[in-house]
C-alpha cells in the first residue's frame, strides 16, 4: 500500500473516531492536545484502524497502558530509564529524543501523533 494511501486512510480513521473534519487531522497533530482525544477515543481509533486496514492490533501494542500503571517505569511522575527503554521498545516511531530531555509521565500522551499512527500502520501492513 502506498504511503499516501495509508496517510489518507489514517486521517479518515482519526477524524471518524474523534468527530473531526479530515482537514483538522494533520500528520503533526497530537491526538490529546490538538485533537482533544479522550481515553475512550484511543480504543475507537484502534477499532477504526483494524477495520480500515484489516489488521489485528494486540492489547497495549499501539497505546501501551503499562507506562501509566507500573511503578518501575515511573517514579515521582518521571519516566525512569527502564520506562524509557519500555517506550523505545513499544513506540519505536515516537519522537523519544525530545521527550527524554524532560520525561514527565504526563507528557507521554503527547507522543501520540497522527504520524506515529501512520508509521505504526506502515509496519503492520508490511509485516
Amino acid at each position: 500500500m502506498e504511503e499516501q494511501e495509508i496517510i489518507s486512510k489514517v486521517r479518515k480513521c482519526v477524524a471518524t473516531a474523534l468527530g473531526r473534519d479530515e482537514d483538522e487531522v494533520q500528520l503533526d497533530s497530537v491526538l490529546s492536545t490538538d485533537l482533544e482525544a479522550e481515553s475512550i477515543d484511543y480504543l475507537d481509533i484502534t477499532f477504526q484502524l483494524e477495520r480500515e486496514f484489516g489488521i489485528s492490533i494486540q492489547k497495549d501494542e499501539l497505546f501501551p497502558q503499562k507506562i501509566f500503571q507500573d511503578e518501575a517505569l515511573v517514579k515521582d511522575g518521571v519516566v525512569t530509564e527502564q520506562g524509557l527503554a519500555y517506550l523505545k521498545e513499544k513506540l519505536p516511531y515516537a519522537d523519544l529524543e525530545k521527550f527524554s530531555a524532560d520525561p514527565k509521565v504526563t507528557a507521554v500522551p503527547e507522543l501520540f501523533t497522527v504520524q506515529l499512527l501512520v508509521s505504526f500502520v506502515q509496519t503492520k501492513v508490511a509485516a
Partner: protein
C-alpha cells in the same frame, strides 16, 4: 440496570450476534407526553442488547459500560402496540471492548440504527460479589431468556 428496555432475548450467539424484542405498551410512563416511543429509548434497547452480547463473549464476571455512540439514526417511529425487533452484531472485538452495529425494526420497517462501542471493565474494576445484587441479576437474566445468567457463586 434500573430501566430494563428489553423484554426478551431470542438469540444469543456469544461474541457474534444477539436478537431481542421490546414490546411497546401505552401504559409506559415514557408515553405520557409523546404519541410515539422515544427514539432515545430505542437506542437504549440497542445498547442494552449490545451490552449483554458483549458480556456473553467476555471473561466471566466482567462488567460492560457504554463507551460511545458513534452514529445513530431513527428513520421512523415505534408506537404503542408495536413489537420492536432488535438485532446487534459485533463488528470487532478486543479484550477492552467491542464495536457493535445494531438495527431496530417494527414489521420490517427500520426505527433505529446505531454503531456503538461497549467497554468491558477489567476484572480489577469490577465490583466485588454482592449476594443480593447478584441474585437480582440472575432473576433478571432468566426472565429475559439470557442463556448466560451469572452462576450462583460467580
Amino acid at each position: 440496570m434500573r430501566y430494563v428496555l428489553v423484554d426478551r432475548f431470542l438469540e444469543m450467539e456469544a461474541g457474534e450476534r444477539a436478537r431481542s424484542v421490546k414490546c411497546v405498551t401505552r401504559g409506559e410512563p415514557f408515553l405520557n407526553d409523546l404519541p410515539f416511543y422515544p427514539p432515545a429509548l430505542v437506542l437504549e434497547a440497542l445498547l442494552q442488547t449490545g451490552g449483554a452480547l458483549s458480556r456473553a463473549g467476555s471473561e466471566a464476571g466482567q462488567m460492560s459500560v457504554l463507551g460511545k455512540v458513534s452514529s445513530a439514526s431513527f428513520p421512523a417511529h415505534a408506537y404503542p402496540g408495536d413489537r420492536i425487533d432488535i438485532e446487534v452484531t459485533i463488528a470487532l472485538s478486543r479484550p477492552e471492548g467491542t464495536l457493535c452495529e445494531g438495527v431496530a425494526t417494527v414489521d420490517g420497517r427500520e426505527v433505529g440504527r446505531a454503531e456503538f462501542m461497549i467497554v468491558l471493565l477489567p476484572p480489577e474494576m469490577t465490583p466485588p460479589p454482592d449476594p443480593e445484587r447478584d441474585a437480582k441479576r440472575r432473576l433478571l437474566a432468566r426472565a429475559l431468556g439470557l442463556p448466560h445468567a451469572p452462576k450462583e457463586n460467580a
